[in-house]
Amino acid sequence: MLHRLPTPEGLGYLKRMNIRTTSLGCTRNGRAILSGISFDLADGTCLVLRGSNGVGKTTLLKTLAGLLPLQQGSLQIDRDQVAYAGHLDAVKAQLTVEENLQFWAGIYGTGDIRTVLKKLDLSALADRPAHALSAGQKRRLGLARLLVSKRSIWLLDEPTASLDSQSTALVARVISDHCAAGGTAILSTHLELPIRKVLTLDLGKFTSKSADSEPDPFLDEAFA
């Protein structure tokens, strides 16, 4: 149960605090990975998750997106504003670039994919089938979906994977613009991205050490 306490600024305060977590704990496949994560994120800020491979960046992002159940603590996030971009680009190889985006525009009930194509430098590729795209171009198409969704909270899992330096700068600019327009972004990356107003969270400090985190040998083998 989350009780909204009155604050000096009143409702405006709650509104500005877009995402709030209190001692959040995450599990993956029944194994506790992270615990005790607390942060408040206001509109217009970008949070970068850091940590070595396997520390739980993806798990945290999936928990925030609602794809994994919340194990401990509380989480306040407007799920109707979440746009999630995982490791996979959710791009259909048989469809063209434009058809892919048109589909997502239909799902999110938005229009106007032309400006999005232009913004991510995909206009020249609009009629090309997605199977003929390079890995980096596919990645950019996957990120174009976030712009099409017109949602304010972006959760990005390694958005810069397989991008060259030019495309990385482009993606950083898109994320900066999104935050400048009042949006929020949480992303995991190993690179230093040129984004303004950026906060960093090192997940290595929140690794769970609880004793009951051993995997259940029966369940693990039953579905292996």
Partner: protein, 218 residues
């Protein structure tokens, strides 16, 4: 929801889609029966309703695992789960698209194939009617099985084992409808029974499939 329905149909017709697969399997099975059984016209007329229904059922089964598996593998399902579409709309739209790309073509192909099996002329109307209202049950029950097995690698066998027992009532009443029409009995009662089953599947299976999908995505 309409966007998802349209995209699934579009994908089925593109290269690597499942449209031709079910239909050609159905054609092959039904065309091979006269070779295997022999040219005994009286015998063929007796077994024709069963063969046509079993052929349609197996052809439908062949493309079931594509309903969710492909979207699961390329991450689309994760994104859809966070989209404004409710889970029931996702599973309903996908099952409906599966029916349009498999059940409907099978229904249309069944009448000429009935001729190959010497199906009595009184039974043609009921063959098409029973497949038209019966194949939605196959797609919707199948979508439930596909949702349960979505994360399982090579889950085709498991999917068949789960789904085939649930197909039996539809098969019995569907094939009986055609047999009764062929032998001069009243096919209406069995047809109504099967259509009832089909309507139940269309109404209930999207809910069950959405629940299964939610569990599997975690």
């Amino acid at each position: 929801m309409i966007a998802l329905f349209k995209r699934d149909i579009m994908l089925a017709f593109r290269s690597g889609g499942g449209f031709g697969l079910a239909l050609s399997f159905f054609l092959i099975v039904v065309m091979f029966v006269p070779f295997g059984v022999g040219a005994d016209l009286a015998l063929l007329a007796i077994i024709a309703p069963g063969i046509l229904w079993i052929g349609a059922l197996l052809a439908c089964l062949l493309s079931l695992d594509r309903i969710f598996q492909l979207d699961f593998e390329d991450g689309t399902l994760d994104v859809l789960a966070t989209s404004p579409l409710p889970g029931e709309a996702i599973t309903g739209a996908k099952a409906a698209a599966h029916w349009v790309t498999t059940g409907l073509p099978l229904t249309l192909a069944a009448a000429p194939l009935g001729y190959l099996l010497n199906l009595p002329s009184e039974a043609y109307f009921w063959l098409v009617a029973s497949l038209l209202t019966g194949t939605p049950a196959l797609s919707f029950i199948g979508s439930f099985g596909a949702a349960i097995t979505v994360g399982v690698k090579r889950g085709g066998l498991l999917l068949s084992l789960l789904v085939l027992p649930l197909y039996i009532p539809t098969l019995i009443f569907g094939a009986q409808t055609v047999t009764r029409a062929a032998t001069g009995q009243d096919p209406l009662s069995t047809w109504a029974m099967m259509t009832g089953l089909s309507l139940f599947a269309v109404a209930a299976m999207p809910l069950a499939a959405a629940l299964a999908l939610r569990v599997n995505l975690r």
